[in-house]
Structures are given as C-alpha cells and as structure tokens.
C-alpha cells in the first residue's frame, strides 16, 4: 500500500522540482522547502506567490490556511497517540502528511494499533518527496510542460481518492455539498485561499446541524 504511494510521491516531488525551477527558485530554496516544510499543497501555493519582493505576510497567511487541515488531522490522531509522552507525540507528527495520515487512519479504524504505520509511512513519503524534488530540479530544464504528462493532476487525484475512497457515507452528502458551494463562492469573491478554511468550517457546521441520529449508527 505504501510503496506505490511512495512511487507517486517521487513523481509528484518531480513535478514540484520542475515547477520550482521554472518559477525561478534556486535549488537550495526548493530543496529546503521539500526537506523541512514537507507539505505539497503549501509548497505549490508558495510557488504561485514567489515573486521578488516576497509577499511574506500573504505567504504566511496562505500557509496557515492550508495547514489548518493538518491541525485537524493531528487532532484526529490524538486518541491514538495519547498514551505516548508529549515528546514522543510531537516526534510522531513531524512527518505527518495527508497521504500517510489517511492511510494510517484507515488502518486504525481496521483495528491496527501499531504506530509504525504512521511514522514509517511518513518517513517513506518524506524520502520519496525529497528524492523527487531533487530529480525534478536536476532535469527541470528538459521537461518544459509537466502538465502534458499529467504531473499536475497527481495532487487532485490523490485528494479526491482520499475523500471518496476514505469514508464516503451518504450522510456526508449535505456537508460536502455545502462545503463545495461555500468554497467556490469564497474562491470567487474573497481573498485567495480563504476558501479552504471557509469550506472546512461550513462542512463541519452543517454536519453539526444535521440530526445526530443520522450519524449515530456509524460512529467509529
């Protein structure tokens, strides 16, 4: 399960490396982002803004908006991690990403309690991401149009796969619809990247407003 995902992460990292090279980032900038930030969506978003002089505030705001998602993810991990010491807990989430989180949570719901899945998966994806970025930077000049090879839709397909493959339950139809609509409206009419936060909050609130018994049968 993890190995094919790592392969795609290499390809995706490659896409980032190529995009970064085309955007005019130096190698050390792109590499240190992949090494230390290790979060594809915010790195791609940062590329869009990467212009001299750097809009530092906008960059920070967008990174924060995108990363509220990771806050929610680590919050969801809490019941699993709470037996560890604080220090160990903090170490466990260093390599937390969308993909390793989704995979680990799926295993957790299947009854798996071995945290190696979470940490090992995270480290594997981190290596793949860094290697991919390096390859992309090295050969970035050769691939002039990464989108011709479908490299830009990996992220889209991946997120979609997590959503519909993960816990697609009929009861989520309304929250998701509300989230999609509000996100789209925010995307059109509000400052950039607020749509992620707004869509998430609207989805959560709508789920709260629905009758609790709709959810009752399937609480995990």
């Amino acid at each position: 399960m993890m190995l094919p995902l790592a392969a795609f992460t290499v390809a995706f990292g490659l896409a980032f490396g190529v995009a970064a090279a085309h955007q005019g980032l130096s190698h050390w900038e792109a590499m240190s982002m992949s090494l230390f930030v290790f979060a594809a969506p915010s790195q791609f978003a940062a590329l869009e803004l990467w212009d001299s002089p750097l809009p530092i505030l906008a960059l920070a705001a967008i990174t924060m908006a995108i990363h509220t998602r990771h806050m929610l993810m680590s919050a969801a991990l809490y019941p699993w991690l709470k037996l560890l010491s604080k220090r160990q807990q903090f170490a466990m989430v260093i390599f937390l990403t969308d993909s390793s989180w989704a995979m680990a949570m799926a295993e957790y719901h299947r009854g798996e309690r071995n945290l190696g899945i979470l940490l090992g998966g995270g480290i594997a994806l981190w290596c793949a991401w860094v290697v991919g970025t390096a390859i992309g930077l090295a050969f970035g000049g050769e691939i002039t149009e990464p989108e011709r090879y479908g490299l830009d839709v990996i992220m889209l397909c991946f997120l979609l796969m997590i959503v519909v493959g993960g816990n697609s339950r009929a009861v989520m139809a309304l929250p998701w619809l509300a989230s999609a609509l509000s996100a789209l409206m925010a995307y059109w009419w509000l400052p950039p990247y607020l749509h992620v936060v707004i869509g998430a909050l609207v989805g959560g609130v709508v789920a709260l407003l629905l009758p609790g018994r709709w959810f009752g049968a399937v609480t995990s």
Partner: protein, 103 residues
C-alpha cells in the same frame, strides 16, 4: 522591505516550516485540552473531509478539460476499485491523453 533576496527567502521558508510543523503539533495540544464529546467528534470528522472538498472544488471547476476528466476518472476508479494506485494512475493518464490529443 530592503532585505536581500536570500534573506527574504530564508525568512519565508522558515516561516513556512514553523507554521507547517506548528499546525501538526497544535492539533494535538488542542485535543489534549478539549473533551472528546460526540459533537466535537462529528464536527472534527466532517471538517477534516470538508477541507479536502474545499481544496478540490475550485481545482475542478477552474481546471482545463484534462483536469476535469482526470477528476471524474480518478473518482470513479477510487469508488469502484478502491485502489489509490489505479486511481491516480488513471487520472494522470486521462489528463495526459486529453492534452496530447484533444487540445
């Protein structure tokens, strides 16, 4: 700002790192202080998938035909086969196909 470009990017990347890691830790910290009632749980569950929906929707709506085709194909494969590998692979192939031959 009059700082040099190198210093600027260093600052920007450092900020990104702090926020990226901070958000991962903050979730744990918040949860260790909030009792996990059914309502909190429902909100968090719904929010965590709604985040992804909110990210995807504009990508699909404002994407080109290739991106839309990829989204439909990947979504269908994910539901039918439940395989992440096949899902992403088919999505990429569809997008590439669209852009090589149809545009």
């Amino acid at each position: 700002m009059n700082t040099s470009p190198t210093l600027q990017s260093l600052l920007a990347i450092t900020l990104m790192v702090v926020i990226a890691y901070g958000s991962r830790v903050l979730g744990l910290l918040v949860m260790s202080h909030i009792p996990l009632g059914p309502n909190v749980r429902r909100f968090v569950d719904a929010m965590s998938s709604s985040v992804l929906i909110a990210v995807i929707t504009p990508m699909v709506v404002h994407g080109d035909g290739g991106a839309r085709l990829a989204a439909i194909a990947a979504g269908t494969v994910a539901i039918v086969l439940r395989s992440p590998l096949a899902s992403i692979g088919v999505g990429m192939a569809c997008a590439a196909f669209w852009r090589w031959w149809l545009v």
